[in-house]
Symmetry: C2
Subunit: 424 residues, 2 copies
Amino acid sequence: MRMILLCGGGGKRLWPISNNTHSKQFIKVFDDGNGGYRSMLERAISEIREIDPDTQVTIAAGRVQTEEVRSQLGFDVSLTEEPSRRNTFPAISLAASYLKDHDKVDPQEPIVIFSVDSYADHSFYECLFSLGEIVENGTANLVLMGIEPDGPSDKYGYIIPASSDPVSAVREFREKPDIETARKYIEQEHALWNAGVFACRLEYLLKRADIVFGSSSYAYLIQHYPELKQISFDYAVVEKEPNIAVKRYNGTWADAGTWTSLATLLNNGDVGQVVRDDQCSDTLVVNDLDIPVLAMGIKGAVIAAGRDGILVAEKDRIPDLKSVVDKVWLEPRIIGKRYGGKEVLYRTDSSETSLLTIRAGSSVTIKTDVGVRKTLTVLRGAGEQMKPGTIFTIQDGEKWQINADTDIELIETMIEFEIEPEED
Amino acid sequence: MRMILLCGGGGKRLWPISNNTHSKQFIKVFDDGNGGYRSMLERAISEIREIDPDTQVTIAAGRVQTEEVRSQLGFDVSLTEEPSRRNTFPAISLAASYLKDHDKVDPQEPIVIFSVDSYADHSFYECLFSLGEIVENGTANLVLMGIEPDGPSDKYGYIIPASSDPVSAVREFREKPDIETARKYIEQEHALWNAGVFACRLEYLLKRADIVFGSSSYAYLIQHYPELKQISFDYAVVEKEPNIAVKRYNGTWADAGTWTSLATLLNNGDVGQVVRDDQCSDTLVVNDLDIPVLAMGIKGAVIAAGRDGILVAEKDRIPDLKSVVDKVWLEPRIIGKRYGGKEVLYRTDSSETSLLTIRAGSSVTIKTDVGVRKTLTVLRGAGEQMKPGTIFTIQDGEKWQINADTDIELIETMIEFEIEPEED
């Protein structure tokens, strides 16, 4: 069994902790059980490893996300990079062709495809494995996960199963209904939410890609990616398939993409360096900075502080955040890098001072342009010719390779400088 | 006429914008009329200069405040530095002896003594000059400013004048009363608040110092400062003097020492990079950082962000700030320096990365200890052998003098490094 994890999405709804490259699946706000925090992506991978350490997960990510994926999962993660944003079927096809051509996966192998848009409990990850097993057993060509609704919702499409059995054939799909209609679907037809989680054999995906794009070769798909038909997996595959099964999942499956939903998930807790008085209530405080947040008497609000800015919002106002944030949207200051990460501490028109983190075992080449000078000071950690206090300066196109033996922290000061006129 | 401005006080009530060295009179939150901000100290000096550019003001400050005073008022400000904290009479005596011994001021010269604890309008500064003129005319040995109360208050001592005339003899002084008693004082006796603003001849101050400390010599007072009797000016002087006049002041005189009073003074406005939606009300937002604060739907609160931390507090909770802030009180990250200022951007156990600002015309010697290395990168401005992009590294007791031709901004990375063992 192999898994494909779709990784994408923007960052405005969780500003200032997330941004375009640092989107919701990457933000580290979930308890890692060791006094630290982990992201939904890290959590998903760790849940899967816990069930089966050998199951390989390939991450299908957009170009802006790949550095962040490597930052969180390490340099040797299996990863396909979409050269541009198309839609789910091109992204899935690219990942499937990579499994075939690069990883030489048996075309009969079941493939489970999912995303980490929502927060789910451990049984969700067990259910992913069940989907693969159902495919293995030959029950259906395509197996979906159906989420048991915790109430009628107009935010999801619905799957109508043939029966209320744990695994059932799918009778039909219904578009997002209004709340009243949703209630009827659930009460009268055992309807389930379509979470976009499904499984099939690799061969099945490849055949569909052949039909839609004229090829299922990785070389072809990556080369022609920007011209591939923009088509969703639902439209390209699900709607064309008569033999679909659905497996019911009745655990937690909660939206984690807005501050209000995150406040519920995190039980209005504190993330990071936070002090609150006993008169604060119904308030989430997330602090990504290295200075304290003090909250006194605040009720029904979200306070979030990060390198990109500070948000203080009444929970009722959160739905407007995405549009209001355009007024404060700056060039991101927190940037995931394949070797670790970068946080901009201070920025002027012609300079940038940043904290760089380089993960143990990673290599990174620091480069400069003409007229640009960079000074790097090692604060912590060790690497080749490098220990705390080591300073190096490069400029005008020079490079410097860092090979990190342990996690390294550096301060980088980048400055555009005046080039001296050459003397005759 | 000469003036002595008493400059002191802590910083917890306006955390995180103020701290112990950066106390309330230094924080830049008042409109400077040019799109920028100025402090109460800068404002006071500018109001006085506007009335008479030649009047010299000597700042009486504690050791922790003197760098900040020089940062705001320039290197050539007249300043006495109290070696330790005693009380108002030692501080005033030290400043008076400095005027005599260093500035050779005529003992007959009127001296006006005041502080910038409160926010006052222009007529307050005009009134300061009137106090000096009343002394000059020989009306009384000591002249006080009496603030016309805008209501009964239990926060101030009261002056009972002999009449309601603009200038009157003082009949007596009364301790802080309860509100009901205060009301009677005001209604029946034209009572005034004692603001601790007064004037007398220099000679008068010196004689009192001779009596209390046995000397009015600057050399003696500075040398014996830590052992000088801790005594207030009220107790040492005012209570002993039968011939006191009071001048009524009826302009603005508002407390600026807490976030609630500052919110009223600043009309719940925005300071710094702030975006708020139209559903915010009765909320002050002060942002000293270079990232934006976004406030949505917040009502009746204070939001303040600075290098030392972030405060989000309901206004009703502000009176408790001083005690709560001890839980988040860290080593200050924003530090006024005589040559400009320092903001710590990132701090670890063994390193500190800061933004240094050096004012045009200032000189500063950057020093290092053994085992410490500092790298400085010039971001903006110019000085001797220095322009944007200039980098220098010093270590192990080395020094580097910076002479700033224009305002200079530098990034300093200070790191403790391991000293290599010497080879045999």
